[in-house]
């Protein structure tokens, strides 16, 4: 399926039309936010990463190709920013003390499917599943973030997929 055409909105953004930015934000904010949230499970940190991501978009807007898949681009920027920040904090040992990272993925009410997935999986499987399926992190990246061997990760992820497939069928 061809990607949606974002050339008009990119052109408008390049001409300093900030209503184009509002439209881009409305279109992509959820994906950008949860990409960061999947790693940090902290609303505050996810918000900071959102800010960094969209500011980078505005500051680099003149370099954007007009055939760009804008949502994918923003999600990748948020993903990279989250990963870099996570690894930086890990190096600084902040994660050991829990600074800036909540322990539970809790997006709040009205997320029945996510709660159901959480019930079906072990905490470790759930975390791996969310990082992989929602955050789109590679097994190598998750391995570095969590300190889990890639082999263990792929096995856990496949197990999680089997459990979800058996319980939820085509819903997931």
């Amino acid at each position: 399926m061809p990607n949606k055409d974002y050339s008009d909105i990119i052109k408008r953004l390049k001409s300093e039309d900030l209503t184009a930015f509002d439209e881009i934000y409305a279109l992509t904010k959820k994906a950008v936010y949860y990409t960061a949230y999947s790693v940090f499970k902290s609303k505050e940190v996810a918000e900071d990463i959102m800010q960094e991501t969209y500011l980078a978009l505005l500051e680099k807007k003149n370099k954007l190709r007009e055939d760009l898949d804008l949502p994918a681009y923003l999600v990748t920027m948020a993903k990279n920013a989250s990963y870099d920040l996570y690894m930086k904090r890990k190096r600084e040992k902040e994660l050991d003390e829990g600074v800036g990272v909540d322990t539970v993925f809790d997006p709040g009410p009205d997320s029945g499917l996510i709660r159901r997935i959480k019930e079906l999986l072990s905490p470790k499987e759930f975390e791996i599943f969310i990082l992989r399926a929602l955050g789109e992190y590679s097994f190598k990246e998750i391995s570095k973030m969590k300190g889990i061997p890639v082999g263990t990760l792929t096995w856990s992820y496949q197990e999680a997929r089997k459990k979800l497939s058996a319980a939820l069928g085509e819903r997931i």
């Binding site: 936010y33 949860y34 969209y54 505005l58 990279n80 997320s111 499917l113 969310i130 399926a133 789109e136």
Partner: protein, 362 residues
Amino acid sequence: MKVEERMKDTLMDALPDDVPEISGRIKAIYLEREEAKRKKRKKTSVFFGIGIPVLAASVAMAVVLPPLLSGGTPTNSESAGGTGGGGGGSLVNVDLAPKHEEIAFGVLSGSNFLSALEGEAPMMPRPMKKRAPASLLEERLLDVNPFMLTAETMLSSDYEIVPSKITYTEGEEFPYQMVIDEEEREIVFHYAETLTDQDDEEQEFAIRGYYEIDGQKYEVIGKREASVSGNESEYETEFKINIDESHYLVIETQNELEQTESEVSYGYDYYENGRPVLEVSLSYEREGLEEEMELEVETPGHEAKYLMDLIDQNTLTLDYEFEVETHEDEGEYAGQLRVTVSEDQASYIYTEGDFSLTLPRL
């Protein structure tokens, strides 16, 4: 749609829509930054607009009080951030600001070049002792890589900020000391300068001294010129760095500023036994919000041209064009490489299709 994409969409649909609404805040920060940039540009143009009388004043002071050229107050030690701002409206800083920045960037990029030659990162092409590259592209990238960090730095928004500090010590043979601190090494440029020519719009200085990089010393002789006319200004430096009896490096920098345009170029010519064996020019041009970075590399039998663009903080694109004249590989080549900074920030990963090459990020 792939299974993973469908699954992600399903998960996304299951998540609440009420994510933080911070677009207003983001726009406000962006507009504030843009305003700050505009003010900086305006300040620069105003600064050069009044350049002639101010320059004349600084020349007069320089002749009478040479130490003042280091900053404006005759102290023995002074630091400058390298932003070109220095002391703002201080008359003598008119001279210092561009000089400091130009010299600092030249020193830093020249030092990167020397480090490569010294074998700290053994990827510098040495035409007299050629490596055996895995492919033509690899061979060309060995040429390009030593300049990638300079290009990346210049393309990033803070390119002009080279963290450096100038001190002045009265009575020394080389009274100026420019110190550039990098994470893993310290570069010091010890130098003296003499005003050799001046008129209402131009000044020319002779420079001599030496680079000190991790204890290794390299003799440097050179000159710098500054000219200011209306809203236009031009700064040039030329350093010859003697490496050993048969090798030397010439670094030229040129910086032209106009109302809405700026162009910075660096030339690096590496000589062996009096003949150039590597000639490199790196130029950066900004017109309005558009930027362009071009690199040309010439070695005996090879000429290559590259255009670079920064995509995000960890990714660049590198368009290349080169011609090979040797019999078996004869032809013209062109393409686009993606250059990614590695996770540990220590390497560049060059990719194009199945091709991938990792080289140190100097």
